[in-house]
């Protein structure tokens, strides 16, 4: 089999460097393009709804105070999970398992909040649940790490499998706890054990904790020695060894942070939002968070931007689907977010690579030395 030689009219070259402004112009264009395409797709699903899509986005996200806090909470889940994977990715450790690590946090929190005897004061129960879920997330993250350190086991596949183990453990827990085979976890009703509202404002604890950890992660990665060690390890593990960084210890320590944050997010999802447990509580948002962290170049500031965009699309698209009465509206936001991420990923190509069109003259002169000016 002799492959045909195709002569493309352009060639691809890696950019040596690109200014930040230029990179963000490219990204900005892709984000606008993604939003336009989403509107067009919406029109295809329901003719004549092009403008309704954007109206839905705005009203569904910012229409009432209630919507705004729903939105902030939605963004917080994406943001906190992305922040959790960021330090691991920074050292090129593919922690796809954030979904499972958060799920373990959810399970432990839900069980502790529900089953602790009512004599124990609420705040104490919350603290126990918090510690348990953070530890649970850490354990879930540390198991693949130990094998990665010891045997160099592929962490991408390992953490991926740990997700499903966690999801099934949730199903098992629900089956054990749920009364009479109803397959639904009872709602936690004791208000002293929940952190959902402060006054009448919803989800405030969740949002505050997320902002706090995002800012902390920003300084951790930018301003501390530990953060610097992560960057060195991500760039070159041999360089790290030469300057005296112990890669195994860094990996261990970082995955504790990563898993702990994911467990914290799981704790907040149950204690600060849902007050119950279900198999779909994290619902694939761990995977989306991985994508967000990558799109944001593992920089908490950029991650916040992308998490906000995805959060707005998630809530806005769901609202739009109800507004223009699309059938099967439950799945509409999935289509839109998938499209958005795919289009923004493409922009990364244009940031990293340069497409040069070959003109006929250039093809000939390419091999000649440049004329002196």
């Amino acid at each position: 089999m002799k492959p045909a030689k195709i002569n493309f009219p352009f060639r691809i070259a890696k950019r040596a460097n690109i200014t930040n402004t230029k990179a963000w112009i490219i990204r900005g264009i892709s984000i606008v393009a993604a939003l336009l395409v989403s509107g067009i797709v919406c029109t295809l699903f329901k003719p004549g709804s092009f403008l309704d899509f954007y109206k839905g986005l705005v009203v569904g996200c910012f229409g009432t105070t209630n919507y705004i806090f729903e939105l902030l909470c939605c963004i917080s889940i994406f943001l906190l999970l992305s922040i959790a994977v960021t330090p691991a990715f920074k050292m090129k450790f593919w922690n796809i398992g954030v979904e499972g690590q958060a799920m373990i946090g959810c399970i432990l929190t839900a069980v502790i909040l529900l089953l602790m005897p009512s004599a124990i004061p609420g705040p104490l129960v919350i603290i126990i649940a918090l510690l348990a879920s953070v530890t649970g997330g850490m354990i879930w993250a540390i198991i693949p790490t130990i094998f990665k350190i010891r045997f160099n086991t592929n962490e991408t596949l390992f953490t991926l499998m740990m997700n499903y183990v966690a999801t099934i453990l949730a199903a098992v827990t629900i089956a054990i706890v749920s009364p009479g085979g109803s397959q639904t976890f009872p709602l936690i009703t004791d208000p002293s054990r929940l952190l959902i509202n402060i006054g009448t404002i919803k989800y405030i604890p969740f949002i505050i904790v997320t902002i706090l950890f995002t800012v902390m992660m920003y300084f951790y990665l930018r301003k501390t020695k530990e953060g610097f060690e992560l960057s060195v390890m991500g760039d070159s593990i041999n360089t790290a060894r030469y300057v005296g960084i112990k890669p195994h210890w860094i990996m261990f320590r970082t995955m504790l942070i990563s898993g702990g944050l994911a467990g914290l997010c799981g704790f907040l999802i149950v204690c600060g939002k849902e007050a119950t447990l279900s198999k779909t509580l994290v619902g694939g948002r761990g995977f989306t968070a991985v994508l967000i962290a990558w799109l944001g170049h593992f920089n908490p500031a950029e991650i916040t931007i992308f998490a906000s965009l995805v959060g707005i699309l998630e809530q806005g698209a769901t609202y739009t689907a109800g507004l223009i009465k699309i059938s099967s509206k439950k799945y509409f936001s999935g289509v839109i977010i998938g499209l958005f991420i795919l289009i923004v990923i493409v922009s990364e190509f244009f940031v990293n690579y340069q497409v040069r069109f070959k003109s006929k003259n250039k093809l000939i002169s390419n091999n000649k030395p440049k004329e002196a000016k």
């Binding site: 010891r150 086991t153 499998m161 099934i168 998938g338 493409v346």
Partner: protein, 322 residues
């Protein structure tokens, strides 16, 4: 036992198609986390094809061969296009494979669920008829007694999947094309130096692999779910398991047959034992994943060369990077 094995065989076919397709993709050096999405898109293609066929034909004129071929073509085109998109992003645009794969899964699952729900609303009564006709390749299987009930009651897909897995295995070991593809997956730079067109091989392997994965989605709808569109909601769970089957079978497609059968059995065991949705029944679902983890650990611990993933798995190839 007589009822368990046929059910396990049906589930097995879905796993074999998914895992074999993914093996082809991974042998070319692509860690494709988009498999669940591609499988879902394949299922959507099958549904589109089956609707077009069954809705336009009176119930008594439905032909089994056409009722298989038309949706199969659609499933392959849909899944192939998804594979092409993945390949364009990873090979030509050199985007990170994990990221593209995960986003393709997000997109594919959302997209397919959305349209399948629409098709389920307007499903024609002919479609279950077509599904029933596909269920058994040998209509007279009962005459062969218990053996027939167990092993001959499968659909066309059951036997086709086994045949395909063996053929693909032979292709990898015995033919030049298979050898070249393995070289591309192990070390694209050397393959390129040896005059193998890395880009072409990666494109073709991914697209063909995706088509096979798409047939897995088709099998899920038409065979496992008897052509019921409304029941087509957890194709992605099967897709994720396919990724683990590829690891369990150590990147050899013929081993996917016993592994898929074992996982098919595990799938059906809780229902057969009457455990239903109880804790123990749910817990059995963990076993395939635990087994995958154990195999991952063992294969890395003894660093057996026969059980390793392709060395270039997950890495894009760009000539200028050498």
């Amino acid at each position: 036992m007589v009822t368990l094995i046929p059910l396990a065989l049906r589930a097995m076919a879905v796993y074999i198609f998914g895992a074999t397709g993914d093996t082809i993709i991974e042998k070319g050096g692509h860690l494709n986390m988009g498999v669940p999405g591609i499988m879902f898109i394949g299922a959507l293609g099958a549904i589109v094809g089956e609707s077009l066929y069954a809705n336009n034909i009176p119930a008594d004129q439905i032909n089994v061969v056409l009722a298989i071929i038309v949706p199969m073509i659609f499933a392959m085109i849909f899944a192939g296009l998804a594979g092409l998109l993945y390949c364009f992003l990873t090979v030509t645009l050199k985007c990170n494979q994990n990221v593209v794969g995960l986003s393709l899964t997000t997109f594919g699952v959302g997209f397919s669920r959305y349209f399948i729900a629409i098709f389920a609303e307007m499903a024609d009564s002919n479609i279950p008829v077509a599904g029933d006709m596909i269920q058994h390749l040998f209509p007279n299987y009962a005459q062969a007694g218990a053996f027939g009930e167990m092993f001959l009651s499968g659909s066309f897909f059951t036997y086709f999947s086994i045949l395909l897995a063996i053929l693909i295995s032979i292709l990898f070991v015995k033919t030049k094309v298979g050898l070249n593809l393995r070289a591309v997956g192990e070390n694209p730079a050397s393959a390129d130096a040896a005059g193998i067109n890395v880009t072409a091989y990666r494109y073709i392997a991914t697209i063909i692999g995706s088509m096979v994965v798409g047939i897995g989605g088709l099998t899920y709808v038409l065979d496992l779910k008897s052509g019921s569109f409304a029941a087509t909601n957890d194709v992605d769970a099967f897709g994720w398991l396919c990724l683990s089957i590829v690891i369990l079978s150590a990147w050899r497609s013929w081993i996917t047959i016993p592994v898929s059968f074992a996982i098919g059995l595990l799938d059906r065991l809780p229902a057969a034992l009457g455990l239903g949705a109880g804790p123990l029944g749910q817990f059995i679902g963990i076993l395939p994943y635990i087994a995958t983890i154990v195999v991952l650990i063992i294969s890395s611990a003894i660093s057996s060369k026969k059980m390793q993933p392709p060395a270039g798995l997950g890495q894009n190839y760009f000539r200028e990077d050498r």
